[in-house]
Structures are given as structure tokens and as C-alpha cells.
């Protein structure tokens, strides 16, 4: 087993274990902190795949933004010491059937499709290429994304402020 395979297996193990902790942990605080491991693991796989800029953005947006936001929501909404009522589970058997079917279908698809063989790509910085793509081919979606973010920001402020009663 080469070094790269070992590193890949290690990151994949971290990823699957922390994802399972997010979905199965009884304590919502543990779930929220396991999400950190998942986001870091995904960033590690991005670096492994030679996507350096995406990995950096993953850390900035998910770990720096979304995770902190989720932690704030957890702290604001729950009596977090009350572990037994915060994170109940229900309907395990139907969920298990659905998910087993889904996993079987996905893995069969992956195994039976003849994927194109990998091109030998040199590991080069991708930032300049991505910047060009944003400002030439994907200019309209790029501007639309900023509009979506602005609308989300205003919507969040309107939704979460306290109502003023006359």
C-alpha cells in the first residue's frame, strides 16, 4: 500500500466516522462538533484531488461560516444540558429500508458504469483558471449568485428579528 493510498484511507475513515457521529449522536452538541471533522475531511479530499482553491474556500465558508452559524442556532434554541430530549430519533425501520435501497443503487451504478480513464493531470494551481471561468463563461450565474446571497441576508434579518407589537 503506497503512502497516498494510506492517507486517502485515513481521511476517508475520519470522514465517515464523523459523518456517522453527526447523524447518530444522541447529543446535539456532539453532532455539531462532529460536523467540523466532516468539513475538514472533505477539504482534505479536495486537496488530495488537486483542487487547492476549492479546499481553501471550503474551510473559509463551511468551517468559518456555516458551522459557527449552526453552533449559534444550537446555543440559542436549546437547554443544551438536557441531553435526553434534545435529539430523539424516530421511524428507524422504514428509514433503514429506504437507505439500504439507496446505497445498493448508488454502489451498483458506480461499479457497473464504465468510467473514462483518468487523464494524467499535473498538479498546478487552479485559481487563475477558476477566475477566468467566472468572468467569461459563467458571468451571469456569478452575478446571480451575489443576488441570491443578498436576498438571503435580507431574508434572514427579517425572519429572525423580534416582532414589535404596537
Amino acid at each position: 500500500m503506497s503512502v497516498s493510498t494510506a492517507v486517502f484511507n485515513l481521511i476517508a475513515l475520519l470522514l465517515v466516522v464523523s459523518a456517522a457521529m453527526v447523524a447518530f449522536s444522541r447529543n446535539i452538541i456532539y453532532s455539531a462538533f462532529s460536523l467540523l471533522g466532516t468539513f475538514m475531511g472533505v477539504a482534505g479530499i479536495y486537496i488530495f484531488l488537486g483542487a487547492d482553491f476549492v479546499a481553501a474556500v471550503q474551510l473559509l465558508i463551511y468551517v468559518g461560516g456555516i458551522l459557527v452559524l449552526i453552533l449559534f442556532a444550537v446555543m440559542l434554541t436549546h437547554r443544551i444540558t438536557d441531553v435526553t430530549i434534545t435529539n430523539r430519533a424516530a421511524g428507524r425501520i422504514p428509514a433503514l429500508i429506504v437507505v439500504v435501497g439507496l446505497v445498493y443503487m448508488l454502489i451498483q451504478t458506480v461499479r457497473t458504469t464504465p468510467w473514462a480513464a483518468a487523464k494524467q493531470v499535473t498538479f498546478a494551481s487552479t485559481t487563475a483558471t477558476i477566475g477566468d471561468a467566472f468572468l467569461y463563461d459563467y458571468l451571469l450565474p456569478f452575478e446571480l449568485a451575489s443576488l441570491v446571497l443578498l436576498a438571503a441576508m435580507i431574508g434572514a434579518v427579517v425572519l429572525s428579528r423580534k416582532e414589535i407589537k404596537e
Binding site: V22, L69, I70, R88, A90, V110, K119, D137, Y138
Partner: protein
């Protein structure tokens, strides 16, 4: 070099864990976290294909997915906080105001 299969199966496993979380959890915040898991799994697939097809288009799509995921998380958490303020509960089974 790791084959493409490994990345795809890893991402399928993470996606399925996210689906389990959405289906069995009875807390809206954990449901939202599981949706983030699923979005991350899809992003992983995009990056793997972008690497193996030798094109950066997949990486550009990932940025749009991230922008929409950020908007979704912000709006979702704002809704969760205002629901909690009204009802003091985050159990999706108790939210049946629109049920006829």
C-alpha cells in the same frame, strides 16, 4: 493513484448517512446539518469528476453549490429560531399547523 470508484463510493456513503439523518432525526437543526452533509457529498463527486475529466467546470459548479448552501443555511436557521420562539420546540412532528 486512487481510482475514481473510491471517491464515488465514499461520497455515496456520506450522502446516505445524510439521508438517514434527515429521515430519523426529530430535531430541525440536526436535519439541517444532515442536508449540509449531503451537499458536501455531492460537491465531492463534482470535484472528483473535475479531476478525472481534466476540466475545471466541476470546480466552478461547486462554488455555486456552496453559495446556495450558505443561503439555505442562513434562511433555514432564521426560520428555526423564529419557530422556536413561537412554539418552544423543534420537533418537526409537532409542526402540523398547515395540516387539514
Amino acid at each position: 493513484m486512487i481510482a475514481l470508484h473510491n471517491y464515488l463510493i465514499l461520497s455515496a456513503v456520506i450522502f446516505s448517512i445524510g439521508v438517514i439523518g434527515v429521515l430519523i432525526r426529530r430535531n430541525l437543526i440536526v436535519v439541517l446539518m444532515s442536508i449540509e452533509l449531503m451537499l458536501n457529498a455531492v460537491n465531492l463527486t463534482f470535484i472528483a469528476f473535475s479531476r478525472y475529466l481534466g476540466s475545471t467546470d466541476g470546480q466552478v459548479i461547486v462554488f455555486f453549490v456552496m453559495a446556495v448552501a450558505a443561503a439555505e443555511a442562513v434562511i433555514g436557521l432564521a426560520i428555526i429560531i423564529s419557530v422556536y420562539r413561537h412554539r418552544q420546540s423543534l420537533d418537526p412532528q409537532e409542526m402540523q399547523l398547515l395540516k387539514w
